[in-house]
């Protein structure tokens, strides 16, 4: 291991944090705002009662409220805490980083106006997100009703409170409310940020020390290439807004493998895995990892029959 390799690892890890920090901060601020200013049940009442309607709201939520994968986790767990049905919240969490205008356009540009690739990406991610949301919803609902703290929301973020605010004039209370909002956003940022840092470091180590020749040599076989590029997507932690350009550069890989790289990376990667275990019960976290991965692998292999 050379000193310049270690420095490169450090710089790649820092660059991943720099890239993700704005979105994680946005998610943390939205999460804190939802916690403080959104009436419990108000959102839930506006969401359709049927599973298809709930799924559709989750899938299309990203078009209205686009957010990167780092920001979607704290926001989704807060929405769950506010009574949004798990089917909607989980589906939104997994789909929003891809099914949003910015990422769809970037995919279209990266693949030289290949609309089929855009549609395939939407299809695979939508199926993966909806299936995971559906499978998680039963278990998460039961856990949630049993004890809302199962969602591991920090107890001090679960209710609006103002330490020592009693007897403070209205202006002062507003200031304290703003301070509390920002302070809890910072706390949320750090809670999720620790996994971002660990994931970024692990990803940088893989990026620098992975035997890339092996990757280049193996991408010729379709099923192997799909599995390999999925693994790469998990290890490399490329942001969903940039991953299409990276996937497009794997020119030796079949299109279905490029698709699998883009589809799984936005739902499962090293930093997200840590966040899932932090934000959800263990069984749900495992489901959030394996169900989308299995779905992407199956669908990518299926689509490889049509994508040449």
């Amino acid at each position: 291991m050379m000193p310049q390799d270690i420095q490169l690892v450090a710089r790649i890890a820092v660059s991943i944090v720099l890239e993700a920090a704005p979105f994680l901060l946005l998610g943390s601020l939205l999460s804190a705002a939802v916690d403080r200013y959104v009436d419990t049940g108000r959102i839930a009442r506006r969401i359709p009662a049927g599973p298809l309607g709930r799924m559709a709201v989750g899938l299309l939520g990203g078009m209205v409220m686009p957010i990167c994968e780092c920001g979607s986790v704290p926001l989704a767990r807060r929405l769950l805490g506010k009574g949004v049905p798990p089917l909607t919240a989980i589906t939104y969490m997994l789909a929003a980083p891809v099914i949003n205008p910015v990422v769809l356009v970037s995919t279209y540009v990266a693949f030289s106006s290949n609309f089929i690739m855009v549609l395939a990406r939407v299809l695979v991610v939508a199926c993966g997100a909806a299936l995971t949301g559906w499978l998680c919803s039963g278990r998460l609902s039961a856990d949630f009703h049993a004890d809302s703290n199962q969602l591991t929301l920090p107890p001090d973020l679960n209710h609006l409170h103002l330490h020592g605010a009693h007897g403070v004039p209205a202006d002062g209370r507003r200031r304290l409310m703003v301070l509390d909002l920002l302070s809890s956003a910072a706390s949320e940022f750090m809670d999720m940020g620790k996994y971002l840092v660990l994931g970024a470091l692990a990803s940088a180590v893989f990026k620098v020390f992975l035997p890339w020749q092996l990757v280049q040599a193996l991408v010729g076989n379709t099923a192997l290439a799909i599995a390999l590029l999925m693994l790469l997507a998990v290890l490399l932690c490329v942001c969903s807004e940039a991953d299409a350009f990276v996937a497009a550069a794997f020119v030796y890989a079949p299109p279905a493998a490029q698709l699998s790289f883009m589809a799984v990376g936005a739902m499962v990667d090293l930093k997200l895995i840590g966040m899932y275990f932090s934000a959800f019960p263990k069984k749900i976290a495992w489901m959030l990892i394996f169900v989308p991965a299995a779905c992407v692998f199956g669908l990518s292999n299926l689509l490889s029959l049509f994508m040449r």
Binding site: Q7, L8, A10, R11, I12, A13, V14, S15, I16, V17, L18, E19, A21, P22, L25, L29, V109, F111, S112, P154, D156, H163, L176, V178, L179, D180, L182, S183, A185, A186, S187, F189, M190, D191, G193, K194, V197, A200, L201, S203, A204, L210, P211, W212, Q213, V215, Q216, A217, G220, L236, C239, E241, A242, F245, V246, A248, A249, F250, V251, Y252
Partner: protein, 261 residues
Amino acid sequence: MRRVLLTLDGAFVFGLGLYMLFLSQAEAYTAFMNPKFRLLTAAAAAGLCTVGGAFLIRPDGRTDMLRTLCFGVLGMLILHAGTGVVSSAAVFAPAPPEVRTHPDPHLTRNGDVYLKSNPARLFLLLQAGAALPDQRYVTRGIVKRSAQLDGLGRFALLRGNMVCCLADVIAMGVMVAHDGAREFRDGEWAMAFGRTQATQAPQPITDMGGAGEAPFAMVYDRAVFVAEALERIDRPRFPYVFELPQSAKGPARLTGGEDDY
């Protein structure tokens, strides 16, 4: 102890904000991120300073040793990351180098006119079928050799292409064919003058590994850059380029485009 941890937490978030603010205004930013995201980084930095400041004034009640430790590790990574290949006395000067001027896109050599294009842009042009066979190009990049390339009597000329951040950098480029190709060593920087020529069948190169600071490299396999001349050059001040497909109209161009081809 609890108070110390909370203060450290707030200080780390505030410090990260300050670092991002500082970096977003410096040349060294291009060693980490595509400069088109400067504004986003600066805005996030301001946000982090704000929430970090609020946390310091009125800390959230919980402590978490792991998160404090993780942000401490991040601080050490930042200190160790340096500025990498972007190194000069002015590296932290508050003067973003990506001035949007329009330098002459051509270079004249021995009376012949060459269109400037970095290897990554050539890759994307070839991939999109937009590289004209009659067009003469001049391109600069890092030389990469491998057994497969040696067998073909060629080397790869590559340039690290960054979409968002250093994590997604891929060294992209073309195979260069020239009588003197074997005289160029792995890792040298070279300038090639010539034309692109389609190959009869794809010639994937699968034994390259990385090049320079990009651990992963990809060379276009359906064309070769037939060089009329090759020159050794010094490494450019900014080794990365920021090319996207169809982005010829406006990728971030460093130092007015002089470091861009």
